[in-house]
């Protein structure tokens, strides 16, 4: 890991020096122990701030989109011929590149506007899971030591196996290496356990419909509609989210439980063919809503119905942008 970080810093430094990119989005060490936070580096000398480890949680594609959108908005007042292009470098693991591919498919920016610094990934630490493992103690200091996490906590020294606090999405990750990149740092990471990716979904599908509804209702009851999930999600980039639209108002803004259900349902549904299972929404949810249970179902259906995995190939079209008469499943159509 150290080796990758060194190479990453060298590469970032070079890219900024050679003005190949205007900014690099990566991770730096967080202010809290055992965290890493996204950072924006515009000067070569800042490259040494960059870290790459199992504490890097967020999907940086979200920031790529934000930066480019902000830039484009700022350029709107400039005459077209005087507009400047901004190239954004991004440190990207597998799921990040999938999100980037989705952005590119959805024409959010050009391929030449983003420079992808690919990095291998063996998963990240589920912060909430770690906290549970140490019985809610506050971490005062901590470090990764091989496959173990060593901590000084309010409850004394603790050691936790990394594999025990691996985020759910990482455990069954199929794409833990970048799908596309302009430069690749380090050698590919060994595979995770993708064969089990839908085990959870299958188990849920096997439940009775009333059990499923009860679970959905219970999970949605937790939601406080803080919209953190939406803010974290790289696929949630609508200029005005439907919940904030009027004429018509799609979802009530009051306390009504069904409004929350409908909000969550539709936000989730917007992820058909667009969720890369990066886990960002899950990791930021303050209430611990089990969003992944539902997102993974959409992913599974999309694969089973249309043979599509979100953002898995640059050649793909958005799955809801086409129709395949010969291969799509038709059995949902009712014949009296």
């Amino acid at each position: 890991m150290e080796n990758i970080e060194t190479k990453l810093r060298e590469e970032a430094n070079r890219l900024l020096l050679e003005k190949k990119v205007d900014v690099i989005i990566g991770f730096e060490k967080g202010t809290l122990p055992l965290t890493a936070t996204p950072c924006f580096i515009t000067k070569p000398e800042e490259a040494d701030k960059l870290v790459w480890n199992n504490l890097c949680t967020q999907n940086l594609a979200k920031f790529v989109h934000d930066l480019i959108t902000a830039h484009k908005n700022s350029q709107k007042r400039v005459k077209p011929e005087d507009r400047k292009k901004k190239v954004i470098g991004v440190v990207a693991r597998g799921c990040t590149t999938r999100s980037l591919i989705i952005h590119l498919q959805e024409r959010q920016y050009g391929r030449d506007e983003v420079f992808i610094i690919g990095v291998p990934c063996d998963g990240y630490v589920d912060g909430k899971g770690l906290k549970v493992k140490i019985n809610g103690a506050d971490i005062i200091e901590g470090s990764m030591d091989g496959a173990q996490i060593k901590m000084k906590t309010s409850d004394g020294d603790k050691t936790v196996d990394f594999k025990d606090v691996l985020a759910d999405c990482c455990k069954t990750c199929r794409f833990n290496n970048p799908i596309i990149s302009d430069v690749m740092i380090g050698s590919p990471a060994p595979p995770m356990n993708p064969d089990a990716e839908y085990d959870d979904v299958k188990e849920f599908e096997a439940k009775t419909i009333e059990e499923r509804w009860a679970y959905f209702a219970k999970e949605m009851e937790k939601c406080i509609r803080c919209y953190a999930c939406r803010q974290a999600c790289p696929s949630c980039y609508c200029p005005t989210c439907f919940v904030e639209q009027s004429q018509p108002q799609w979802v009530g803004i009051g306390e009504d439980a069904t409004d929350t259900q409908v909000f969550q349902f539709m936000r989730l549904y917007h992820m058909v063919g667009r969720c890369v299972d990066c886990g960002s929404c899950v990791s930021v949810c303050p209430m611990g809503v089990d969003l992944r249970k539902f997102l993974k179902k959409l992913d599974k259906d999309c694969l089973e119905f249309f043979g599509n995995r979100a953002g898995s190939s640059m050649e793909d079209m958005p799955p809801l942008g086409k129709f395949d008469e010969h291969h799509d499943k038709q059995d949902f159509i009712y014949n009296p």
Binding site: K76, E106, R107, Q108, Q245, Q247, P248, G321
Partner: protein, 1477 residues
């Protein structure tokens, strides 16, 4: 020559199938007035009967319906149904067309198409629209979506029974109603014309039966007794039928005589609201019916019951009141407003022989009267009755019943001449009465003043007299005496007119009858009318009834001050429905009418006839042949609340001026019964392909369920037999029908989709899949559907008796026979010239070609032999829908080209008032709820729905209407909109698909934006489908209305965008297609730029010398090029390359580069005519051996008369080189014809040449088949090969050798050849993709351009403003290219003729703030109407291209795109309002 300014800007299109419809739309949409003339009752032609269309299997109705609706609503198209063209006079540019129309009997302006009429119609006939596999009524429309949507009545003329009945009752009508079990209705119908059914059901002389057509088959219908049956039912029912009486009008009429004429007159006058008083001298009412007709024929009680109905209507009858004696005639005249004299002939005529005053002579009239008035009278044992009429019969039979033993008739002629009704005579003979014929009384013999006998003379028959009967002549010296006790002379009656005073002025003629007008029954004195026997001399009851009825009409008119005669004379002998061939009608014996036994009758006055039972009556009524089709029972008139039915409509003639005529009468299908060996019409399970098409159709006779005719079971094995009536000289049809191979394949596929277990087999000679994507379709049929194709023509079919299966015998390739059993056989019947082709060609003044189709010009297949008259569709030769549509557009273009200067001169522009300003207005909704007669109101509680509407938010006005679509309601709606200041209008009625436009126009006319209108469909989707659940239907109507009102709140006034149009065209490609298009555009007055890549124009056409049909193409091309270069409207750029195309419909900018530099052209449309290339073969030693050539190379040698050719003796041609293979799985269409053309030419030059053509299927479609036949006759050999067993070409010395497997010999043959000629086929232009990308138009999987719709929009692209023609579309012959080029011009003119393009109102729009420019809308839009503006970072809608489908809106997660007319707020408002509150 007609000068341009004298031309007429209108075109008549004859025939309203898809060809006629397309031509009409193209013409009307580019400013021409169109008269669309159709023989039938609705438009759509054969296409409307089809289930699906190949090769896409699109539903035919779905794609046709929008066209039907468009043409049906087009303000510039006048649809004229049931019309026939009689003559076309004048010159091109100004023709006078004479038309005749057959009446429809339904007023289309009033008919709402509800179908209530058909429900009550008792006449059922085979539905030709369904291939005679189902039934329809005499009032009908072919299919529910028919245009015009109104019904029509089929009449073959007046049925003879009705015509021959003196009262002209709709006899067929009440017979049909009886057959239908509608006895009350039958009685009512009878009573419309005759108030005496009880009488006439017993004692009528029934001339109806004499005329009955059934009499030609076996025996006439027993009409009289059927009448008695319904009359008796009424007689015995608790509530007798009493006609509705009009309100009293205060006028009084006197009737003299209570006989049939007087009472009839009284009856009809009473109904009309008159006060009628009848004076009768006798002590009983009924006149002769009461006192003349004996009890056993007409019992007094039933007669009185019949008369009671008349009294119940308010008619007063004063008995024992003799006018003249008790009341002076002149007093009647002064006391009453009118007088009717119907006193009859109650005096007997005298024999005027000696001894007539002796005792024992009693005249028939007196005799019967006395008996009937109750007197006991015994005449003695021997009674002679003299005469042969009904009175004589009555007298003689009465005498029998009063106890006389020996009673006989003396008649001076024979039985054949007896005027008495045959059954009377028959019954008399049954009762033992002797008839002495050819004897005439000379003298009464008596003793003591008492009769003892009568002296008679014998007679013989001479020449016919005035009555048509042979005159009896006395035989001299033949006198003899007949002994008898009494003599009853019954030879005639006369009137007693002594009461008519001289002063009255009523004229009496020499026969002592009142003088009268034969139509009005008026006498010479105003206000005095007369009828019945008193004016005619003794006649029948029905005749008297007729006169009374007619007199009543006259009296009514007289007293209302209306002309008494107008429109009343009618020649009933004309237009009789008596011409039908009845030879095939199976015999069914007449129901035996039950009588009392003769032995019982002799002693009794009890009624002889017992009357039919109900079952008998129905059975007898069912024998009716319905020879008039419509029975004129008038049930439809009663059922029609809109009052649309008018049985009095008459044939009319009209003359219309037009500038050009387009003939599009279509085709006839071959009558399969002419190929007797296939058993069509005999074997039940043998059907034609068109019948099978209907069987497959969801709206067909079996609702799409594939089933056999014999037992309704689903078939398993089904055989299609191709070429029935095509390629068959034995039935005179040498041509190929072009479409059968494909439709059979389609029907096999669809059949299999409907019935999974189906195993179709197609027996064929060649599979002719020569159209675009056809081979792929056939391959799918074989590979995916497993449809079996057998190259063999069955020689015979036998039906197996036990299961109605069919045994087909066919030959195998090796000559052996196979017999195979099938459950069903479908005959792929060919296309024939239309039945009326000969007459039509004479009317239009055009020539037919040898097969009977329209003769067309080789240079331009839509031109006929007469300038100004064009042809399109199958009339010019059998062809498929896309070719038909192309021809229709091409014909339109040619007609328009002639009349371009008159464009827009005859159309009716629509002018609307200024729209009211809506700013600051609150929403004020008006709701109109429609009853639709009883269609809605009969199920849904309309007033309740209306009151409910008043409770809904924003609703300020509500109303309910009987017919919201009627003209008066439209006016009312307009007034209400203004008065109530409505800002929204909601109509709850029928379907917006049919009526939205109409109501929107109402709004527009009242100054309300048309998009502020909304509909709730409470008929088609409510009252009609929930007829038995009125409460729930009412609830549903409320819900639908609430939803509509909720949506209406959010509607926005829309202003469709307008876009100016550049009137020039860019034509890419200067081949035959391009230059034809340029010239055609120039004819229309439009400039064009022809961009050609090569250095010269002409393209592939440069390489052609002659067509198969013999056109000198070099001369043709030369002529075209001269015209092109001399036309100032055409700019040609050669050696040019298109750099870029910017813009869209109406406004394009194209940059073209050639050696002279770059040029920019501005234009409104683009025609893509970039052609295709000849395939360059890699196989068969081409380019390796000089003996191997292409057809094109051979053609050059032939026509350039190359001397090298002389040595070429043995020629082998190989077809399908590079076509129909894996790489190019399509047919190149023209290679078969080209090969045969060259082969024939070689053979003609040197008959000793040995020519062999190796082929897979010979595809000489339509008339090209004749050349194939000619080639075989010229001994050109044809050997077929399979794709997987291709021939081999090997060099062998100075020759080449071709090895091929001969399937007939079943061995490989070696053909030594001096020349091997390859038919190399066509490859698409490799530039198609690049050009397509510039224009944003797609290519298909083979690389040819993809049209908007393969059937109905063959030259359009889905993107508006871009068109294609020629081989860039698909491989085709040169004449087809010409047609397509003209078609493309016609389509382009729809745009070029407009100053502005009007966009759809209901288009998509983008909320820029919400858009993230993800482009999903752009990918999804089928019309390239929305795209992302990258610089702006959001999507933009091109409102002109947008068709308002809304696909973009639902694909947008951001909800940034929305759709006018169906926006999110509007749809959600509906969703939110499914439930109350």
């Amino acid at each position: 020559m007609i000068k341009d300014n004298e031309k007429v800007g209108a075109v008549m299109v004859v025939g309203a199938g898809i060809a006629g419809i397309q031509a009409s739309l193209d013409l009307a949409n580019s400013g021409m007035k169109v008269y669309l003339v159709e023989n039938g009752i609705s438009i759509g032609g054969v296409m409307a009967q089809l289930d699906k269309t190949f090769p896409t299997n699109d539903c035919s109705a779905c794609i046709l319906s929008p066209k039907l609706v468009e043409v049906g609503r087009h303000p510039n198209v006048n649809i004229m149904t049931r019309r026939t063209v009689e003559t076309v006079e004048g010159e091109p540019g100004k023709f006078k067309v004479k038309l005749t129309s057959a009446p429809r009997y339904v007023n289309l302006d009033k008919c709402t198409g509800c179908g209530d009429c058909a429900n009550v119609c008792p006449i059922t006939v085979k539905a030709a629209f369904n291939g005679n596999l189902s039934e329809r009524k005499a009032i009908y429309r072919h299919f529910p979506q028919a245009i015009p949507s109104g019904f029509a009545i089929d009449k073959l003329g007046t049925s003879p029974c009705k015509a021959n009945c003196p009262t002209h009752i709709s006899v067929q009508g009440y017979v049909a109603l009886i057959a239908d079990g509608k006895f009350k209705e039958a009685l009512k119908l009878i009573k419309q014309d005759n108030p005496f059914p009880i009488v006439c059901g017993r004692v009528c002389n029934h001339p109806c039966e004499t005329a009955c057509m059934r009499g030609k088959v076996d025996e006439p219908i027993d009409i009289m007794h059927l009448k008695r049956f319904v009359a008796d039912l009424d007689l015995n029912s608790d509530t007798r039928y009493l006609p509705e009486k009009k309100e009293s009008n205060g006028k009084k009429v006197a009737v003299v005589g209570a006989g049939p004429s007087g009472l009839t007159c009284a009856y009809y006058l009473a109904i009309e609201g008159y006060e009628v008083v009848v004076y009768e001298a006798l002590p009983v009412a009924g006149g002769w019916m009461a006192v003349g007709i004996p009890e056993y024929r007409l019992p007094k009680n039933v007669l009185n019951a019949e008369i009671k109905v008349i009294q119940d209507l308010g008619v007063k009858i004063y008995l024992n009141t003799r006018i003249g004696r008790d009341i002076p005639f002149d007093k009647l005249k002064s006391d009453f407003d009118a007088v009717f004299i119907g006193c009859g002939t109650m005096k007997s005529s005298k024999l005027n022989i000696p001894g007539e005053d002796m005792q024992g002579v009693i005249h028939g009239v007196d005799y019967l009267m006395q008996i009937n008035l109750g007197k006991q009278l015994f005449l003695g044992d021997r009674v002679a009755v003299i005469g042969g009429g009904n009175v004589a019969m009555d007298a003689v039979r009465t005498a029998v019943r009063t106890g006389s033993k020996n009673v006989f008739i003396l008649y001076r002629r024979t039985r054949a001449e007896m005027p008495a009704s045959p059954e009377e005579i028959e019954e008399a003979i049954e009762e033992g009465i002797e008839m002495k014929f050819l004897v005439a009384p000379k003298r009464v013999v008596g003793k003591d003043g008492k009769v003892t006998g009568i002296e008679c003379a014998r007679m013989e028959l001479g020449e016919p007299d005035a009555s048509g009967r042979r005159r009896p002549i006395e035989i001299k010296g033949s006198e003899f005496i007949v002994e008898c006790d009494a003599i009853v002379p019954a030879i005639g009656q006369e009137a007693d007119l002594s009461f008519i005073t001289k002063e009255s002025g009523v004229s009496i003629n020499k026969w002592n009858n009142v003088d009268y007008d034969k139509v009005t029954f008026a006498t010479n004195v105003p206000g005095v009318f007369s009828g019945g026997d008193v004016v005619t001399g003794p006649q029948t009851v029905v005749k008297a009834v007729f006169s009374g009825k007619e007199a009543a009409k006259s009296i009514d008119r007289y007293l209302q001050g209306v002309d008494m005669k107008a429109g009343r004379e009618k020649d009933w002998t004309k237009d009789l429905a008596d011409k039908a061939d009845v030879s095939d009608v199976p015999k069914v014996p007449r129901e035996k009418y039950p009588n009392m036994k003769p032995e019982e009758r002799r002693t009794s006055f009890q009624e002889v006839g017992i009357g039919f039972s109900e079952a008998q009556a129905i059975a007898e009524a069912n024998r009716c042949l319905a020879c008039g089709i419509c029975s004129e029972c008038y049930q439809c008139v009663d059922a029609c609340i809109a009052k649309a039915i008018d049985h009095e409509m008459k044939a009319e003639e009209e003359t219309i001026e037009v500038g050009a005529v387009i003939a599009a009468p279509g085709f006839e299908i071959f009558d399969a019964s002419k190929r007797g060996e296939y058993g069509y019409g005999i074997y039940k399970n043998v059907v034609t392909a068109l019948q099978f098409e209907r069987i497959l159709s969801a709206s067909g006779p079996y609702f799409g369920h594939v089933q056999r005719i014999s037992d309704g079971k689903e078939p398993k094995k089904i055989a299609f037999i191709q070429c029935v009536g095509s390629r068959d000289v034995s039935c005179g049809n040498s041509w190929c029908s072009s479409v059968c191979c494909m439709y059979a394949t389609k029907e096999a596929i669809i059949g299999k989709e409907h019935a999974k277990g189906l195993e179709p087999t197609i027996f064929f000679m060649d599979i002719r899949a020569h159209g675009k994507d056809f081979d792929r379709f056939v391959n799918r049929a074989k590979d995916e559907y497993g449809i079996r194709y057998i190259r063999s023509m069955p020689s015979s079919i036998k039906e197996l008796q036990q299961n109605n299966n069919l045994l087909i015998k066919y030959t195998n390739p090796d000559g052996s026979f196979t017999e195979e059993e099938f459950d069903m056989v479908v005959l792929s019947v060919g296309l024939m010239p239309p039945k009326e082709a000969k007459k039509l060609s004479a009317s239009l003044g055009i020539e037919l070609e040898e097969h009977g189709f329209c003769k067309t010009q080789l240079e331009n297949p839509v031109k006929t032999s007469r300038p100004g008259v064009f042809v399109c569709g199958a009339f010019g030769g059998p062809k498929d829908i896309p070719e038909t549509v192309m021809e229709a557009s091409a014909a339109a273009a040619c007609a328009e080209g002639m009349l371009a200067g008159k464009r827009g001169t005859m159309i009716t522009p629509v002018e609307n008032p200024e729209e009211k300003d809506m700013r600051g207005q609150s929403v004020r909704t008006g709701v109109f709820v429609c009853h639709c007669g009883i269609n809605i109101g009969g199920v849904v509680n309309v007033p309740e729905v209306r009151d409910f509407a008043a409770t809904l938010p924003t609703v300020v006005y509500t109303a309910d209407n009987l017919f919201t679509c009627s003209q008066d309601t439209a006016v009312k709606m307009g007034e209400v909109i203004k008065e109530q200041n409505l800002t929204r209008v909601v109509v709850a009625s029928c379907s917006p698909r049919t009526h939205e436009g109409l109501f929107q126009e109402n709004c527009e006319k009242a100054g309300l934006n048309r998009y502020l209108f909304e509909m709730a469909n409470i008929r088609d989707q409510d009252s009609w489908v929930h007829m038995h659940e009125p409460e729930k239907a009412t609830q549903k109507a409320k819900d639908l209305l609430r939803m509509a009102v909720a949506k209406a709140q959010y509607l926005k006034p829309l202003k469709p965008g307008q876009l100016s149009v550049n009137h020039q065209a860019l034509i890419i490609g200067g081949g035959l297609a391009g230059i034809t298009a340029a010239l055609s555009l120039a004819d229309q007055g439009f400039a064009s730029f022809v961009i050609e890549k090569e250095d010269r124009l002409g393209g592939n056409y440069n390489h052609l010398y002659k067509t198969l049909e013999g056109l000198d193409t070099r001369a043709h091309l030369k002529g075209l090029l001269e015209k092109v270069y001399n036309n100032p409207l055409i700019t040609v750029v050669t050696g040019a390359h298109i750099e870029k195309i910017e813009g869209f419909i109406g406004n394009y900018k194209t940059t073209v580069k050639n050696k002279d530099g770059e040029k920019v052209f501005e234009h409104g449309v683009v025609l893509v005519a970039i052609g295709a290339y000849e395939n360059e073969p890699k196989e068969y030693l081409y380019k390796q051996n000089a003996k191997v050539k292409t057809q094109r190379e051979l053609e050059k040698l032939i026509y350039e008369k190359d001397p090298k050719l002389a040595a070429v003796k043995n020629v082998v041609m190989i077809q399908c080189v590079g076509s129909r293979n894996e790489e190019r799985p399509y047919c190149s269409r023209y290679c078969c014809g080209e090969a045969i053309k060259n082969a024939l030419e070689l053979k003609a030059a040197d008959p000793s040449r040995d020519i062999t053509i190796l082929y897979r299927d010979i595809r000489t479609f339509a008339f090209k088949e004749d050349y194939y036949k000619k080639a075989r006759e010229a001994n050109i050999k044809f050997i077929s090969y399979e794709e997987n067993r291709k021939p081999e070409v090997v060099a062998s010395g100075d020759k080449v050798e071709v090895k091929v497997h001969d399937p007939i010999l079943n061995e490989t043959v070696n053909l030594s050849a001096d020349a091997v000629v390859l038919s190399v086929g066509v490859v698409p232009n490799p530039e198609n993709v690049a050009i397509g990308n510039m224009l944003k138009v797609p290519t298909n999987q083979d690389g040819f351009f993809l049209e908007a719709h393969v059937k109905l929009r063959p030259v359009d692209f889905a993107t508006d403003g871009v068109f294609m023609c020629g081989m860039s579309h698909s491989p085709k012959y040169s004449d087809e290219t010409v047609t397509q080029a003209n078609a493309a011009v016609s389509r382009a003119c729809l745009i070029l003729t407009q100053d502005y393009i009007q966009a759809e109102g209901k288009t998509a729009y983008v909320n820029k703030e919400r858009c993230s420019a993800c482009g999903l809308c752009e990918i999804n839009c089928p019309y390239s109407a929305i795209s992302v503006n990258v610089a702006e970072g959001c999507a933009e809608v091109n409102a002109v291209l947008c068709k308002g489908c809304g696909v973009c809106t639902a694909s947008c997660r951001m909800n940034a795109v929305d759709l006018n007319g169906f926006n999110n707020e509007e749809v959600l408002a509906q969703i939110y309002n499914i439930n109350e509150g």
